[in-house]
Symmetry: C2
Subunit: 233 residues, 2 copies
Amino acid sequence: MVEFATQVENPAESGQQETSLHSEVLERLRDYIVEGNIPEGGRIPERQLCETFGISRTPLREALKVLASDGLVELMPNRGARVRSLSAHDIKELFDLMGGFEALAGRLACERITEEQFEEVLSLHTEMYGHYLRDDRHHYFRTNQLIHDKILEISGNSALIRSARSLSASLRRVRYAANLDDKGLRWAEAVREHEQIIDALRRRDADALASILFHHLRNKSAAVLRSYEEAYR
Amino acid sequence: MVEFATQVENPAESGQQETSLHSEVLERLRDYIVEGNIPEGGRIPERQLCETFGISRTPLREALKVLASDGLVELMPNRGARVRSLSAHDIKELFDLMGGFEALAGRLACERITEEQFEEVLSLHTEMYGHYLRDDRHHYFRTNQLIHDKILEISGNSALIRSARSLSASLRRVRYAANLDDKGLRWAEAVREHEQIIDALRRRDADALASILFHHLRNKSAAVLRSYEEAYR
DNA sequence: TTTTGCAAAATTGCATTCAAATTTGGGATT
DNA sequence: AATCCCAAATTTGAATGCAATTTTGCAAAA
């Protein structure tokens, strides 16, 4: 039964393809899930997604195996795949791991950061502080994310960057939900932590920065879990 | 052309299978590569491995995609897969990442370790010290590995344990090569570092332990890279 | 002897097929 | 009406098929 085009031509792109179908599907599917198109714990409709993406089951299934090893998806033998739903315990573990990544990034950043790069981080911090004073939650969180990304980038460790980005994607939905729920109690505390981060970075104090970043993520995790518990009550 | 059994029966296991063919192949292939059956940078003969494992190409190719996302294998579009060969720069990055994992494990272990668990680690340390005094390199390295594994286990973070194990597997070949080459210069230093590790763990000093573990891995990485450079001269 | 061209062979990427497992939807029994 | 049973339909996991790309082998030209 072949009712739709089996070969999806891409007439607009007559030049060389460069990326394999597999890697393209992998990214598309990861985004599709991370963006919340399938509910937490929901079945992943294999055949339907194939039609949506205009591909056969083989590359889609390859992508599912990779996402399962990433922990974004759960494979149930003979019963298909579902979007992994994170328990409070899972969330705590994953935030601790993220804390480990950020602590390492901070450590490495202390070794490599140039004065110019420090100025960039400082300027992001100043901007973020402005959003905090103006109570502009949306821009605050965006700038906050940029600071963390910047430190990762400055670490210069591509293996670390890849791992952290992948984990960050898995936590994106959770993190966002908490941002919306935050009643402001955590906000002031987070800003103070960021000041400590800047200070440790200025002093190139790797041990101090690692410690602060880990505990910063720990506190964020606790805030996320509080809002989670509230949501389920 | 089907000259070999297409279905690999497992008569010894008449009970339920529990594991899918995919995950079984994944583990077998990972071991196969990690154990050095294919040289660094060598092509991975898809069809031949299928015959070796008695499976078709589909599950093998699924495993290859997963191992590629793990960084153990490199996929070259239309030109197959090869065992990723690690440059000195790659090795440095990966050891730093491993240092991040171990630092995090140490941090978490400080929070959770029981007196009984501490005694276990201490006894491993004592045993390792004995191997050091007796100049028994083989048993020294085995016990050393057991200590690091034990700290990871005590951390109790399953996501961390999975990530660290996977990275550790990728580095296994490199680590082993360096162990053989070590001229003893590094050995005494490593033993002293282990004493510091035990001490920080006894004091449940998370920041100190994280720092020591990171630098311990850094130093190991430097030793590995020295022996690498010697090998290529 | 080395380089070039090109057709045959092999390999790859993806689609399709097929058998086995699971789910579904009545109908028979209580 | 509720429960159980079982056959049909669907879905899954893995094998196979097929077109496109790459590699190989070899003969002709420089």
